[in-house]
Every structure is written in C-alpha cells, then in structure tokens.
Amino acid sequence: MSKPLLKIEGLGHVYGARRGLFGTSPAFRALTGIDISVARGESFGLVGESGSGKTTLTRNILGLERPSEGHVLFDGHPVIDLGRGGERRLRRRMQIVFQDPQASLDPRMTIHDTIAEALVIHGPDLGIARSGYTRRVLDLLEAVGLGREHLYRHPHEFSGGQRQRINIARALAVEPELLILDEPTSALDVSVQADILNLLQRLQKELGLTYFFISHDLGVIRYTCDRVAVIERGRIVEQGPVAKIFDTPSQDYTRKLMDAIPDPDPDLSPLRRLA
C-alpha cells in the first residue's frame, strides 16, 4: 500500500466548554484517540450507534472543526489553517454527501445552479470555461441517472432518492479524490437505497474514487466497503477488513451490533426460536 490518502492520528474532539457570563456548560468529549488511515481507491466503512461520534469525525476530516488533539492529514497535508487558496484546493479534492438529501440542497436554487456553483468556484482549476458549465452539469446529472428535464427544477420537486443523486452529482462536480458519505441512504426507503448504493459502486469503479462511508446499517457497510472501523462512544474499538470483522468480531460491542440487526430470513429469528 502506497502513501495513504487520508490519515487520522490520535484525533480527539471535545465539544462545548462554552463559558457564559454565569456558569459554563460542561465539556463533552465526542472523540478520543482516533487512528485511521484510508488508502487511495478503497472504500472505508465506519459503523457505530447513534451519537457515537461519526458525524463529528467527518467534520474534523473536512476541517470544519478544529481537533482538540491529534491531527488529520489529507494526502500528507493538514486540513486546517490552509488559508483561502489552500482551503479551496483541499475542497476540490475532498467532498461529502450528507445523510439528509433534502437539507443539503438550497431550497431556493435550481439544480443547475446548485451543481454549477461548484464549477463557479473551481472552474479555473478544472479547466472549464463559463460557457461549458451547463454541458458539464448535464454530464454529471446523466452520470447519476438524471436527465436534461431536471436541470431547472428546484429540490422540492424531487423524490428523496433523486435528491441524493443530485447531492452526489454536486460532490462529483469538482472531481474529488475522496468522497465522504455520512449515512447517505439512512433517510431513504430500502428500494431507493439499493439504487443509490449501486450508483455509488458504479461511480467508484468508473472514477477511481476513495470512499469514507459512514452508516449504522451493517448490511450497507458489508455491501459497500473493503475495510471497516467500529466506533463506540468516540473510540475505535475494532478495525480491519470487512469479512474479518463481520465474520469473527473480536469485540463484544461489535458482536452486539451484529446480533441486533434483524435478518430478513425468518428462520434466523431468535424470537421464533425462543417460542
């Protein structure tokens, strides 16, 4: 394995400790000693219960939060304190798709404008002239399975699955190397989820993307990822290849997570066995 694309070392994050005029709100430790490295081209999964610190980790990776300790290196460089230009370059290489497809789209902008915004910011770096924006937006839409007729619509005119496709298209517009996916399908119906997961797999294959994939659904992780880390209350309790972790979990916590997933095979029901 060559130099990792994303390297997280001893990362810790403490929220709060906000000082008011009278009294302080207590600090909350969301992350402790996270060590993760993600290689170029792989799909790295992160699973954990709600509130275990998954989103906090992504915010640190994106440089939206300043880590309380440790650091995040993207392609060998830190992700904070980059200055205006450095930040823009980083943004081009690293993108995110959020959990809630509706909330991540500006309700007042057309799909064209939403996606083209990425080009407005990064057009020069991408070598796309202003006149080429619409062409490029169309290409992106087609890549995620939408068409010309959707170009000038507003987000509320789409279904959840379509919105998530738009989010993906926007993230892809800057031709990033790393794509962070923070529970991209947990707000969607299973049937739609399947479409999105398939789309993501196709795109990875075509574009050679690196995924940092967050979910609390172990099935999804298993389906999409090569390696996985299990996070519990801000600590990585286990990490390794998907098959290994899922088949021979070494931690009780991981086992508990696995056991709790209801399997659609009625024969495997513990309740029925009990009865």
């Binding site: 943004r91 993108q95 909330a103 500006d106 910011i121 007729e149 619509r153 926007r170």
Partner: protein, 300 residues
Amino acid sequence: MSQIDTSLPRAGLARSARAEARARAIYRFRQSLLSVIGLAIAVILITVALLAPWLLPYPDDVTGAVNPAVAFQPPSAAHWFGTNSVGQDIMTLVIYGSRISLLSGVTVILLALIIGGALGVIAGWVGGWIDEVIMRITDLLLTIPSLILAMAVAAALGTGIWNMIIAITITWWPTYARLVRAEVAAKKQEQFVIASRVLGVGPMRLIGRHVLPNIVTPVVVKASLDVGFAILLVASLGFVGIGVKPPTPEWGTMLAEARNYMPQYWWTAIFPGTAIFLAVLAFNLLGDGLRDVLDPRTRR
C-alpha cells in the same frame, strides 16, 4: 403539510411543481377572505396616496389655506368629511395624510430593515464577541418601550417628518437585528450551507446566495406587519404632539386636535381615526395573509 407523493415522481412532475406551488400559495391566500380584504385596502390606500394630488377636493388646504368662514361644517356634499376648525376640508387632509403615513411607515421599516438586517447578518454570521456586543445593545434598546424612546428622540430632534422617521427607526432596528441574527445563525448551521462551504464557497457568496434568500420569508412577513405598526407609531407621535410640521396634514395630529371638539364636531375625529385604523388593519391582514402563503407551517 405540503408533501409531494414521492412514490410517484413521474406523475408529480407532469405539471411544473413550481407552478403548482404558486397555485397552492394563491389558493391559501384566497382562502382567507381577510387577507384579500387586507390586500384590497392596502392597494386602495397606496393608490390614493400616489394619486393624492389629483384626488384632493381642496388642494390648497394641504399647504395650509384657511377659511374660518366655513369652520366646523358637518359632512355635506361640498365637504364629504366636513371641515375642521379653520375651515379646511377634512377629506382633503385625510387623503393627503395617507402619503405621510405610508411614506413614513414604509421608510421606517426599510431603514430599520437595512440597519438591523446588516447588523443582524454580521452578528449571526461572525458570532463571538461581535455578536455579543450587538445583541446586548439590541437587548438594551428593546427594554425601553418604543413609544417612549421614539418620543424622546423625536422631541429632542424637533418636529418634521424626517426627524420623526429617524426617531422611529432608532427604536425599530433592534427587532430586525434580532430576527435576522437568529435566522442567519440558524441557516449558517443548515446542511445546505455547510455543503456549499465544503465546496469551497466563500463567506460573501454563502451569505448572499444561500443564507439571505432563505431568510426572506420571515423578514418579509414581519416587515409587512410592521408597516402597519409603524403607521400606528407615527400617528401616536402625532397624537402626543411630536410629529410632522404644520401645515402638513397627519392623521394622528388631526386626531389630537379633533379631541378638543368631541363630541360636537365628531367628524373631525372619526375620519382620521378610521383612516389610521384601516391603514394599520390593511397591513396586518396583508402580513397575516403573506405569512399563510410564504410560511405554510405556521398556518393556523
């Protein structure tokens, strides 16, 4: 709840959803008869104010012409609303007064919006101690009843429509600073703003393209309601004797003067009083209707 049947995207998209949203909005607005009435009154009022110079039965009265010989005439064919203590036609004064009220009402709100909005955006976006300072000042100003503050400032500045507008603006901007700050601070955390930030969009563009357009609704609703209340405050100042300069006709001042002639010369009070009432009511109804249209969540 406006919810589009997501299971049937093809059918939902057959008709442009935008047109549909507009249809829904108009439907909601029309559903409330009161909003329509409000709109109608407001439109009439604005038309009257704009066309005032051509509508005045006795245009000279506006610039202070007096005619003691016909003082205190009750409503008649010649003077629909009667005449006042110096023989001026009350209808003329009331019509012309609509200009003053609307002009000052709208100007006050615009100025308050600009000042309060700018400070609110700064406070909400930048946060930190700047936010603290701006918000503490607005908190302080908001503890003083606006009427008293406006009276004090207007009295010190002296009479005149612009002084009055300045005085009222001073009392009004904090409410907008608060509203805008809260909205900006909330929108700043919204996922779509963060998504744009992650794309590398700079703060100016974030504010201008993403935050501001999305806070327009509550601001517009408040502003349209507030125009009514600003008109009321203008009239209140006029009523206590701090307002425009004579001979400029102003409803509150007219009412204050008329007070001395109640109940004999009731028409001197009833018409300006009703004019204030209708103007405020119109903007209240309008604001209410707009809220229904623009912000369906809070509907009823």
